[in-house]
């Protein structure tokens, strides 16, 4: 009799908990769905070829986001171009060369901390250091360098983690054939960490696309149409910054929502490619 009572109580408890969890799961899914549908509904109708392919003109009373698209491309490329060699180099040094495990531990800990700092602080420091101290003025390059510092820990950590998955037996095999340290790293270790580097890139691109605070300080919010070189040395807004500027300063919510929709699509694509890449490499590793 007694046991029956307890088990009934338990069953009720389980039912309640299960329902609560289901509700929170549904709420999460509904929120995401609502957000996506809302942004797409408001943004997609305003996306025209003219919007995508022109620059803003007061004379013709027209807004175009081509400069912002190009600025985004420039800043992503410049950041990756600098952050990948630095991050991968640091990761290789820490896992393959550094012998003082304590120092390695401190650096890893610092990197973790660094990636948790609010981005506006990076912006402030970037403005003081790159724009003023190094006299780069407000420019895409100063913005890219600030983003390099922000993303360096991510690239370094993902590369390091994948370096650690390269079996020690590969290194032994190569050393055993008389290969020197650098050759072992180049031919056996590095190919094994490509997936980590790619993951780091994808995460970084996502973060760069989403960044506004740090760039407002360092890269500014101009909408001039520039080639790569002038682009990097002059101020410019990325898509995210442009979204902010159009909504906040000019009240152009239609344009802002169009940009939001574009960013949303890019985010989904990035997440998708991250999944595909990791699936591809997992499969290859099991071979």
């Amino acid at each position: 009799m007694l046991t029956q009572k307890i088990s009934k109580k338990r069953r009720a408890y389980i039912t309640v908990m299960r329902t609560l969890m289901l509700i929170s799961a549904l709420a999460t899914a509904a929120l995401v769905l609502f957000l996506v549908i809302y942004v797409f509904a408001k943004g997609l109708p305003n996306i025209t070829w003219e919007l995508l392919s022109t620059k803003p003109s007061y004379l013709q009373n027209r807004i175009g986001i081509l400069p912002d698209i190009l600025n985004t491309v420039y800043i992503v490329l410049a950041t990756l171009l600098i952050v990948i060699p630095l991050g991968v180099g640091a990761a290789i040094y820490l896992t393959e060369y550094a012998s003082n495990k304590k120092v390695v531990g401190i650096i890893e800990y610092a990197a973790e901390t660094l990636s948790g700092i609010p981005s506006i602080i990076y912006g402030l420091v970037g403005m003081l250091f790159f724009c003023q101290f190094l006299n780069m003025k407000t420019s895409l390059l100063a913005g890219a360098l600030t983003l390099v510092i922000m993303n360096l820990p991510t690239v370094m950590r993902t590369t390091q983690e994948s370096l650690k998955t390269v079996p020690q037996s590969y290194r032994e095999g190569a050393f055993g054939l008389g290969a020197g340290k650098w050759r072992v790293i180049r031919t056996v270790v590095l190919p094994g960490c490509v997936d980590g580097v790619i993951t780091g890139c994808i995460l970084s691109v996502g973060r760069i696309l989403g960044e506004s605070a740090a760039l407002l300080f360092t890269a500014g919010f101009a909408h001039a149409l520039n080639g790569v070189i002038e682009g990097l040395t002059s101020p410019g807004a990325t898509l995210t910054v442009a979204l902010y500027v159009y909504a906040k300063e000019q009240g152009e919510f239609g344009v802002s929502f169009s940009i939001a929709a574009i960013l949303m699509i890019l985010t989904i694509l990035i997440n998708l490619s991250a999944t595909l890449v990791s699936r591809y490499f997992n499969k290859r590793r099991k071979l």
Binding site: S169, G176, L177
Partner: protein, 251 residues
Amino acid sequence: MSNIMTAENLCLWYGNTQALKSVNIEIPEKSITALIGPSGCGKSTFLKTLNRMNDLIPGVKITGDVSYNGTNIFDPSVDVNELRRDVGMVFQKPNPFPMSIYDNIAYGPRTHGIKNKAKLDDIVEKALRDAAIWDEVKDRLKKNALGLSGGQQQRLCIARALAVKPKVLLMDEPTSALDPISTSRIEELALQLKDEYTIIIVTHNMQQSVRISDNTAFFLLGELVEWGNTERLFSQPNDKRTEDYITGRFG
């Protein structure tokens, strides 16, 4: 027959624990020397000292001498990469690189500067033939080596080691992860290879030692208890501990 390698008063410590205690041994050229003994007695440690693979482990301290062809391998003027080219190694667990069969074999020669395609083709074919695996892989040289069976992978690793034309081949329990058929193929292979190479092989299997080796060395707790002609060691061991071990009365 001259000795290609000798160890004199060789001691080795991992941090504070001594793993080799004053080992003295001579390795005759073009013969097979088997290292036997219970696990943890220092066989792998001794083997890895011979081509300085222990350099990779932090905290290893070594005293005493090992000479290869009359030169002390610990001498600062010795190029360790050249030493490892001459004293090759096959590991317990087959460890082919995750690349094509061809690239696996060509890895060593390329490391030592051979770039000519025709030359590499010749070396790859000869190494694979010498390791008795050519017929099985000749149609799939461009395929990934990780797709081979365990026994094939181990013969591939032997071929990879042979491709740099070593003088000495160190093998650390090369058959312990393999089935009996693959095991006997590798034993046959070792017997063929000794015409050209000096082989030092660690084995946990005393029958294997009797079947293939000319000399046997018995290790116990870091000490080289006794070594000499295999037949003699197994029929008339000098040391009581050797006798106990080979008659299975041990532990």
